[in-house]
Amino acid sequence: MAVSHEPRIVGFLCNWCSYAGADLAGTSRITYPANIRIIRVPCSGRVDPLFVVKSFQLGADGVLIAGCHPGDCHYTEGNYHTRRRFALLRPFLDYLGIDQERFRLEWVSASEGKKFSEVVADFTETLKRIGPREI
């Protein structure tokens, strides 16, 4: 077992809420673990389950999808599709041999820089606890 495992998280953040929330964490100088790599998407509903599976296939320890809170979607209903789509994907991860805890869907608004940092910190902590993936 590695002494210190630094997990890698791929984060798909919607442009209007969560990406702005991540920016706000920066503007507010809130530090959080550097384990996340952020990919900007217009809406969390843009995230194809393929992106998630592909990230895991390439070696990601965790995948985060963050979007606007239900009811706040810039495109009115994109995040509802996200919610349903990934409720379906989640059990499928078990089938692929990927711990469901490695996948997270969170709602982070543009004013929740603090929440974003907490999500990343908590997710990193969880992934460290689970340990590296056994491929």
Binding site: A34, R46, S55, Y75, E77
Partner: protein, 666 residues
Amino acid sequence: MARVGVFVCHCGTNIAGVVNIPEVLEAAEKMPMVVSATDNKYSCSEPGQASIREAIIENNLNRVIVAACSPRMHEITFRRALASAGLNPYLLEMANIREQCSWVHSDNKEIATNKAIEIIKMAVAKVIRHEPLYPRQVGITKRALVIGGGITGIQTALDIANAGYGVVLVEREPSIGGRMAQLDKTFPTLDCSACILTPKMVDLSQHPKIKLMTYAEVKKVTGFIGNFEVEILHKAKKVDHLKCIGCGICWQKCPEKVPSEFDLGLGKRTAIYIPFAQAVPPKPVIDLSHCRYTKYLTWVATGQEGKKPPECRICEKLCPTAAIAWDQEEQLFTEKFGTIVVATGYQTYDYSHYKEYGSRDFADVITGLQLERLMSASGPTGGEVTRLSDGSHPKTVAFVCCVGSRDQQRGRPYCSKVCCMYTAKQAIMLKEHDPEVQCYIFYIDVRAGGKDFEEFYLRAIDEAGVIYIKGRPSKIYQDGKKLIVLGEDTLMGRPVEIPVDLVVLATGMEPSAGADELARNLNISYDTYNFMVEAHPKLRPVETHTDGIFVAGACVGPRDIPECVAQGSAAAAKVAALFSQDTLTTEPLIAVVNQARCIGCLLCVTICPFKAVDYQTTQDGRLIAATNESLCKGCGLCIAACRPKAIDLRGFTNQQILDEVAGLWL
């Protein structure tokens, strides 16, 4: 072959203070297809942009990475820099190494430097897949549709028309004027409502740029900003308004009397009618559900069973211009518009759910709006406030605030905003009508936030001697000729029981019937109460999420007259700003369909929140999806839903995002 240039910004010490820039540059130079990697103290400054420009030309770059702040900050700035170097502005990708790196990882410079390198690596992988994109220009139909002819719609239409653009105002009632026309006086100035409204109604009807369509409804809306196509249903008036001169003989002589909607059932109108004396247009319509001749025709058509109704046709016989048109049918017209303003207003809450207040069973329990009609000089009683039960003048009057407002149990938790002030106004007015009247007002809180409102409320107490009792009455019941109002004075902490002659319920506002259906037709959002939802409650109060469609007035939420007028003017200003351009530029970051791959499942059509995906048939007879560039907002919902991956989002293609992910492991 892509030639990528990487420009790393120091942002003073904001980035350079944490991230080791030379190390980043060294790593960037080794990334695939990168031909140059340079740094800049402030990339966004003029010298910074100039150096990017020069490097693009010197190194013949065709893809650019700016590793600096968030794209939400300066993407537009650097796109312009690319354009000034003759490069397509959409060949830029920003690597966010400030907000999402140096500022949040200042505690560990080594880790921050590594992360910055990886962020740039991902951006390089993505930018290689960038394609030049071109915004498109679409024309605008410079003609606005205003839905609703209340004070908001009137103000909107007049302002747009005065800016020099054509307007069509659609009103479903036979006359414009809306709720304001029903009011007697307005708070807090006690202006006569009709005196300030009716001149505007006349202005509107005579304006050369405004086409008024009363007794008409919007049925279907297609198209997009600048190019809407709207189906408008003209209901059958059975009167040719081109011939009618509005002399009034028909409605004076019509023998069929029915309760007047305008007078809220307090007065009568005839079957051929104008809703009120100052109606615009001052020309009647025939209410077919009550017309005697229509009843006769139905009797003939259904086999002449029962008693023969009179054939009547008195209006036709008396009309001096032969304007009665029995053969007139409802008609559907399609018109083109550039923008649509929704100003459908409100109706008052139906208090039949309030069993404790008699559910409309007591003749002398009326609503605030009914009292307006009783107080109005042009109302059914000629301005005399009398009891409906016996015609006597009430001497004690109880007002009950918040009926259908601030009531969780009735599903109306919101404040209707105007009731506190209009009850104060009505109490003052009643005292003016008859100095012997004593008014009691049951309230929860007096909300007098507005110019001169608090003073007006104090005037009700000081000058009109109104007694305010804090508490919602628990029951109203009839006792002989009196109505007994039971409640609790919560400030005194004791029960109260007041016998009164008249009870006035300050019924709250709710959106007009059919607001939800209209919103669905227009594809704009509405809330759980059917109020329209604005694009942003603070900063975009009259816009909606559908470009080119605006909302104003009480259809968005409870508003008083000045707010409605202000919103009407605001919407008109938005429309005029749009019409001042000859063409609209559309964002090229939108969904496009690969026709060869599309299997015609049309899941994208159902999933699109903007009705931007439609279908068409190819020459070989296949059904395929097609996106509308002007309607698409580039959310990408359809792309994630597409099974054969036939639809893709420019700027965020599947390949680009997958490459971005893969870039992390390069």
